[in-house]
Subunit: 203 residues, 2 copies
DNA sequence: TGTATTCAATACAGAACTGTATCCTACTCC
DNA sequence: GGAGTAGGATACAGTTCTGTATTGAATACA
């Protein structure tokens, strides 16, 4: 049928990778198609042979990133769920583990969030992804609470939402002021208190 | 000396206002100078007679917005500090009061934060503004804790940082999913617990 | 080995945007 | 009421970007 796609798919991957870097540096609007191609080592010919437009690439990039993220999560879940560490170590560990380059990830993520706040289609895609992400975290929280004899006094998902909110808000501050707010400071100072407040021994 | 500046300054103000709207809709990069002028009811002639470039306008807009924000805060502080409500009501009230249009404010704010993460000059300006903002909040917190016989077990500024982180993270979720996360939900669910955990009766 | 096909490079046309230089209008001040 | 000027509109030149049409090289396959 269609055997020889190795060249093409490799090109696509390199273009996506280049786009990720350039988007992080200059934002979606700030990066031209040419910029992306240059970074990936191609000309625009390659680009338009693989994508219809920059918007299409943005969407593809989001999907690719999302897929990879969810895979990673699924891979990490069993390990974290059965580890000795505390609940919060597992959850925060997952949040960090899946974003090796905090800065780049935050830039892209913020950029796409902003995009989603303006474009309903993007919003739907993003919300779907975030829902799956939350679900994984929620399952993790539920597993650990069960096996460690704890019980939450609020729905696990609500708790997860709070952890995510703190994580994102705190990361923003850490990136803006690395000196004053070393990464993880706020999370590790305050989240244990929240957990303490919403959990009790079960049974 | 230089009497007739009324026309000019009014034009500047309208351009800034137009820029605010257009930036919120399309982002800094996505909005052209022409877009801004059109929104304000001018042509590019007026723009370049008032600003050197779009970057210069962005900076001016940031300064103007910042100044107005800090003024508002200073005006609200005494009232809030001496009000009957709780500490958190005062703090969250201040955070909300100063941003009548949550959505637009968040968009602009996120946009500028993203800008600052890429441009050291913008970062310095933003950090300076945020520092002043935090300082006001910190003073408010200190005043209220004192007069209400409370004592914090962590530095007030650290507590304020946490409140801000939660507020920003939560607002992002609220704007993305207004149905699932009505504005204020996370803050009002979890922040009282945090406060409870880090405060005790003084003396 | 020859032929067909895939895919990226190149060349090109057109649109959008920026910034400047000039013009025109309306106010200011005498 | 007339000269001077401030400030916005208009016209224009140059750049940058996008998207398409064509070309050319490498690969698959017979």
């Amino acid at each position: 049928m269609e055997p020889p796609k190795r060249r093409r798919s490799n090109t696509r991957a390199r273009l996506l990778e280049g786009a990720l870097e350039v988007f992080a540096e200059r934002g979606f609007h700030g990066a031209s198609v040419e910029d992306i191609c240059e970074r990936a080592g191609f000309t625009r010919g390659a680009f338009y042979s693989n994508f219809g437009s920059k918007d299409e690439l943005v969407l593809a990039l989001f999907q690719a990133t999302t897929d990879r993220l969810l895979e990673q999560i699924e891979a990490l879940l069993p390990e974290l769920a059965s580890q000795p560490g505390s609940l919060l170590d597992a959850v925060l560990g997952l949040l960090d583990e899946t974003a090796p380059d905090q800065r780049q990830w935050h830039l892209i993520s913020a950029e796409f969030t902003l995009h989603a706040l303006r474009d309903p289609d993007a919003a739907e895609a993003l919300n779907k992804q975030r829902a799956m992400f939350r679900e994984s975290l929620t399952r993790l929280v539920e597993q650990i609470t069960e096996t460690s004899g704890l019980e939450l006094t609020v729905p696990a998902e609500q708790f997860v939402r709070m952890v995510i909110a703190v994580h994102e808000g705190a990361r923003s501050q850490s990136l803006l002021e690395p000196e004053e707010v070393p990464a993880g400071t706020l999370e590790h100072t305050f989240l244990p208190m929240v957990l303490e407040a919403v959990s009790r021994p079960s049974r």
